[in-house]
Amino acid sequence: MKLWWGIIPAMIVLFGLLGYGLTSNPKHIPSPLIGKTFPQLVGKDLTGKDITLGNTKGRPTIVNVWASWCVSCRAEHRVLVRGAKAYGSKVDLIGINYKDELPDAQRWLSNFGDPYLWSYQDLSGRAGIELGVYGVPETFFIDAQGMIVKKIAGPLTDETLREGVELITRSDVAAAKE
């Protein structure tokens, strides 16, 4: 009979786990790229000019993955437009136009505003895979040394954008002190 009492700890663990499960998001994947250097990706921007993504030139950078066909990007876009104005002096905002046709992307930016310094054209989605992108929108926060400090999957809010900016500019300050 004594052995059956093992049911109690088993149940506690099980329910604790399931309760936790209700709060977690099964679709979210933590990124293994955090703490690693942002890769250099050679390609073209939306005007057709040759550029290298990842060449941050010592500035804290935010790389935002977006697409004209992505509905959540629309909501996030206003946050980015505000953010570009507020933090543009401290950080560079660069876009990755993910699996999007060029005319659609350009039309979208002209309709809703272009907060990006420039956007990398990722028609094939290879850059996305190179960065472990699994959905749109996603945002990478990169410090002045080119290290990925944080990644947010899903639309940004003013709050999360501000936190991210603080994170990468703080590192910048710390590095400048050295």
Binding site: L14, F15, Y20, L22, P30
Partner: protein, 667 residues
């Protein structure tokens, strides 16, 4: 079009459901009230209440079904899951195509079984029946509460829409149409042993007195659950297009866990009946099997796990179900631990080498199997809770872990029936099993010699299956020979009369035979499958595992509510043509692929047509040996259980002088 009558009709159903809720609440508290107020009639009223509940819930269900049939899109659930172009059969089965409706079906089956229990128990165990019905009523209360307040299928969409959103194309299929009802019959069927266990704990009802009553319920529940799982596997096989039938997906695992413990339960009940032991195991298994049914419900509907089959995510509902599950388990296991003392009347294990001990091992093995499935399903969640990391536990893990355990089960299936009760002479047992063992080993070696399968499980599985088959054949012939000798009948007549007389025993034998057939099918299609992917132009011929297919081009057409691109493949050497399709359902905008299968007893040729590349097509071909044996095995099992259950129920009440209670001997 919606008319006056349909608008009011669905509200009638809604009202009926609410009325049912009230009656259920009464049924839940009736025994308690009766005890307090000392009114035995109140306790007995539970029986009538159960009929009223079933009646009311049937009205509710009927109005929902009517709404589907006439395409009343003022009902939100109908608008979400149906469409005027949907064929009638699927309009009906769409009732359980979504979360709200399937939950209602769950509850309706529960109400049905409660009413049946009321009829069964009215005369057989009238004293305990009120508590039993009360337990069922509390379960019903939980479900109807969830349905009426958080997942209401009667919710209106006023003004109604002109056209519905159509049923998920994957569900527009005969196999998928009947898979959920079968599963629910199984899940809810296990609520009966559960209710009996709780009633026994609450009213201190000695196990031997009620264990025989639940035997048939448990067997019934197990059988329909088996059929439900098989239907799901069969559907996945021909519908999903990846040539397999079981992916160890969390929702599949949710149905498999109660099946595993249910298997342990139906065997453990036998021991209780024969030898008056394993009472604690039986209580534990009766509670846990149903608990797993509830857990499955939680996993599928709460969004906790990601799965291909999961219903739409809703953590609110998930929380309710989790709390409900928590309450049920706390009370049940609490009672079990508090009152589930080993019955003084029960016997102890005499010897380690005995059939009783092997049954204990059987219980242990199936519990371990169940825990392993649970581990694999919940581990990603646990890992995430501990350190935030995410991993995937897919089919390869489960195959590696579960297959050796299943092989042990098959071994037990061969040794167990040959082992006598109480105490077995090991030498005698070994001598009895030796010929079968030789056959098993020889088969394993033969397979290793003649086949190219690299994996070690193939010869081991073959050897074990043949070993058990040999034990069954020897056992059967031995019995037939003995009967022929004793009753002076011919062998043939002896076989027939023997099987006809002792249906329970030979039904069980047939079921075990069915399991062997399934095991053979799983081994063949799992380890000896051939597959390839090839790009074909019209006229190309491809060869795989001795089968030759010629691609004869494609054609396009429109049917019902979809557009199709169909490829035609001639199976050379026969006059069969395989016609896999790629379908597009405009309303749901979800493309589906329909595989095409040519199946015979020895193998399935399975073709899926893929992307077009210029004017050629990517084609995926499988040859699955023995896969049909899995479905035939399921049929054999069903027949075996049916045969076993058809043993005429005759109650013999034998007056026992040495005890106050009546000992019943139920055949």
């Amino acid at each position: 079009m919606q008319g006056f009558s349909t608008t009011y009709l669905i509200e009638l159903g809604h009202l009926a459901a609410f009325a049912a809720l009230i009656v259920i609440a009464f049924m839940a508290v009736a025994p308690i009230l009766a005890a307090r107020l000392n009114a035995p009639a109140l306790a007995r009223s539970g029986v009538n209440a159960s009929f009223v509940v079933l009646f009311l819930m049937t009205i509710g269900g009927a109005t929902l079904m009517y709404a589907f049939i006439v395409s009343d899109f003022s009902v939100k659930y109908v608008a979400d899951h149906s469409n005027t172009l949907l064929p009638l059969l699927y309009k009906v089965t769409a009732l359980w195509g979504g979360h709200e409706g399937s939950l209602y079906l769950w509850a309706w089956v529960l109400a049905l079984f409660t009413a049946i229990l009321a009829i069964q128990g009215r005369h057989r165990f009238p004293l305990r029946l009120p508590v039993l019905l009360s337990v069922q009523a509390w379960l019903l209360l939980g479900f109807m509460g969830l349905i009426l307040f958080l997942s209401n299928p009667f919710e209106r969409l006023l003004p109604g829409v002109v056209e519905g959103r159509d049923l998920n194309p994957l569900l527009q299929d005969p196999g998928m149409a009947f898979h959920p009802p079968m599963l629910y019959l199984g899940y809810v069927g296990f609520s009966v042993p559960f209710a009996f266990a709780l009633t026994a704990l609450i009213t201190r009802w000695e196990t031997p007195l009620w264990i025989g009553l639940i035997r048939r319920w448990a067997l019934f529940a197990w059988t329909v659950l088996t059929i439900g799982i098989m239907l799901g596997g069969w559907w996945a096989y021909y519908e999903l297009g990846w040539g397999g039938y079981w992916a160890w997906d969390p929702v599949e695992n949710a149905s498999f866990m109660p099946w595993l413990l249910g298997t342990a339960l139906i065997h453990s009940i036998t021991v209780q009946e024969n030898r008056r032991m394993l009472q604690n195991w039986n209580l534990f298994l009766a509670i846990s099997t149903f608990a797993l049914s509830l857990l499955g419900t939680f996993l599928v509907r709460s969004g906790v796990l990601s799965s291909v089959h999961a219903f739409a995510v809703d953590p609110g509902r998930g929380l309710y179900i989790l709390l409900f599950l928590g309450a049920v388990l706390t009370i049940s296991f609490g009672l079990f631990l508090a009152r589930g003392r080993t019955d003084e009347n029960s016997e102890a294990i005499g010897s380690l080498m005995s059939r009783e001990m092997l049954f204990v091992l059987n219980n242990v093995l199936f519990t371990v199997l169940c825990l392993c499935v649970m581990l694999g399903t919940l581990y990603p969640l646990a890992l995430e809770a501990v350190n935030g990391a995410k991993i995937t536990i897919g089919a390869p893990y489960f195959n590696i872990v579960m297959v050796p355990l299943f092989l042990l089960v098959i071994l037990l299936m061969g040794i167990g029936p040959a082992t006598p009760w109480r105490k077995a002479d090991v030498n005698k047992l070994a001598k009895r099993l030796a010929p079968s063992l030789v056959i098993g080993v020889a088969s394993a070696i033969a397979l290793m010699v003649f086949s190219t399968a690299a994996h070690w499980t193939a010869p081991v599985a073959t050897g074990l299956v043949m070993f058990v088959l040999a034990t069954i054949v020897f056992d059967f012939s031995r019995n037939a020979a003995r009967r022929a000798r004793q009753a002076k009948e011919s062998i043939a007549k002896a076989c027939f009369s023997m099987v006809k007389r002792n249906r329970r025993y030979y039904g069980g034998m047939i079921v075990h035979f069915g399991i062997l057939v399934i095991a053979a099918g799983l081994t063949g299609s799992g380890l000896f499958r051939s597959e390839l992917v090839v790009v074909m132009a019209k006229g190309d011929v491809i060869e795989l595992a001795g089968e030759r297919l010629r691609f004869d081009g494609t054609r396009q057409f429109k049917k019902d509510n979809y557009f199709a691109l169909q490829g035609r493949f001639a199976l050379l050497g026969t006059d069969k043509v395989l016609t896999p399709e790629r379908r597009k359902y405009p309303v749901q905008e979800a493309p589906t692929t329909e595989s095409s299968i040519d199946g015979n007893l020895w193998r399935d040729v399975y073709v899926v047509i893929g992307e077009a590349i210029d004017n050629r097509f990517s084609v995926h071909i499988y040859v699955n040996p023995l896969v049909e044996w899995i479905w035939y095995g399921g049929g054999i099992i069903t027949f075996g259980i049916g045969w076993s259950l058809s043993q005429r129920l005759r109650e013999k009440r034998v007056a026992v002088t040495s005890n106050k209670s009546m000992a019943g001997s139920q055949v």
